[in-house]
Symmetry: C2
Subunit: 287 residues, 2 copies
């Protein structure tokens, strides 16, 4: 029987080591570090301490590119530093940059984030708005490497329905954009040689706040790892988010950012550590 | 009668000065600079010379973020340098980064690119996949500033139909995602106080390779500046692209990248200057 893709084996090792599927989101908010606010470099020093403290409790780390880009070149240096630190600890890095563009431009984004360099991640979030053809350069990049992508399939914000619930003309008029994307993800993992019972490198972002969507999406993409935002600050419970797991309790990363970084408002290492442990326990106890 | 938004006045001044609506796309390809390829910093030195040479012939400059990000921190330093150089020449910079995310994350992208800082642009391209609500932080940013955005409405690639031709449930089942986006763009400019006869800061990306789409889109968004890719290397003619203009010949930027940067394959300043002049003449002659 074929094995899962190397990216999945890396994720699974990390989940086993941490006994959790927590993905720690890094959304730097300098005003919440120190009494008068802090530089982005100092925020990343705090984050490195946090990663050292929770490395045995989290399965992956998800820096949000926007919050680093907002600080210009110093922010991007800080992003590179924290990505390198996480990977040096053995933590897979999912860069949440939601990139997407046509042909050779998409290839340039894949080069930027899915191969050796200042911003090397283990996986990248990808925006499919420009069409399935524009995802192919990312597919090519991960097919024969240790990397993965997470395609935005059903996000967790209220306005998601504007476009994601629209109905494509093809292949049928009865499915939504989100359903068509889920079908594309499943089809693409199969095309890459990952049949039932294995996981391929093409994952999906599916929000935990969208009612029964998560369970439906899990069933529609049995071969795809899911990245699940919406737990914690966005309101989904552990039971809600747990619908992303397969029958063995694998196949998904549950993201939490603010609720772990800033549980008391201002950054506090011990408070973050306690919040991380509490999240781990909440998922162990979830039905 | 109300005036157009300050971003539009800035564009119009630049178009008048250059007697053209050319937007010069910057897609660095180091292998095409020098016989053995070049660093990204050296490419940007070539681009600065090019901007000095064509400043009287182009109305705006559009760096493609992906091609800089692919070179890591050095690439981002180069991006910052070329953006500053263009703006110091008085050329409006449209950063083509196609960013989009929810709430506070979208705000962070607006902060990164639409206010003072290392990557200050005059306008940013924005991806609407996550829903109309996720565009509001960008709207807030441009409403009371000199900046603009260009929302992806109808791109020029073959796969665009997968999502952009889907039919939203709301407000009616008879329009496509692209049409719903165009209606949102028009409605938003009106909401910001720019009625018929003026232009607001919310623009749209509409490809020139999509048959009658461009003419239809121009009519659907009379108050929106259009950013039009697809001319040159992607195959649209000057007559095709000219459908983006209003009756006064304004209201649109026509982008060309490879066909102006690398008309002979390897970078050659004189060849690029000739290609730019030829494009200017082609549009003067277009019906």
């Amino acid at each position: 029987m074929p094995e899962s893709h190397p990216f999945i084996r890396r994720l699974r090792e990390s989940q086993t080591r941490a006994s959790s599927s927590i993905c720690l989101g890094l959304d730097p908010r300098p005003a919440q570090h120190g009494t008068s606010g802090s530089t982005i470099a100092a925020v990343v020093d705090d984050y490195k301490m946090l990663l050292d403290a929770v490395v045995d409790d989290v399965a992956a780390v998800k820096p949000q590119a926007a919050f680093f880009e907002a600080h210009g070149l110093a922010g991007l240096q800080a992003l590179s530093d924290v990505m390198h630190h996480a990977r040096s600890l053995g933590l897979p890095v999912v860069l949440d940059a939601k990139r997407g563009d046509i042909g050779s431009t998409a290839k340039a984004y894949a080069d930027a984030y899915l191969q050796a360099g200042d911003f090397e991640a283990d996986a990248l979030t990808v925006n499919p708005f420009l069409g399935f053809d524009t995802l192919e350069p990312f597919v090519d990049q991960v097919a024969s490497s240790t990397k993965g992508i997470f395609v935005l399939v059903a996000t967790s914000n209220p306005g998601r329905a504007d476009i994601q619930d629209a109905q494509p003309f093809q292949p049928t008029g009865s499915q939504t954009v989100s359903e068509a994307l889920a079908a594309w993800v499943q089809r693409t993992n199969e095309r890459l040689g990952f049949p039932a019972g294995t996981y391929g490198p093409i994952g999906a972002v599916v929000g935990a706040t969208t009612g029964t969507t998560l369970k439906t999406m899990r069933a529609a993409m049995p071969n795809a790892p899911l990245l699940v935002p919406g737990y914690g600050a966005q309101g989904a419970s552990a039971a809600d988010a747990s619908q992303a797991f397969d029958q063995d309790g694998g196949g998904a990363l549950i993201n939490a950012s603010r609720s772990l970084l800033y549980p008391e408002g201002a950054f506090n290492l011990e408070a973050s550590r306690r919040a991380t442990t509490a999240m781990k326990q909440a998922f162990t106890a979830a039905p």
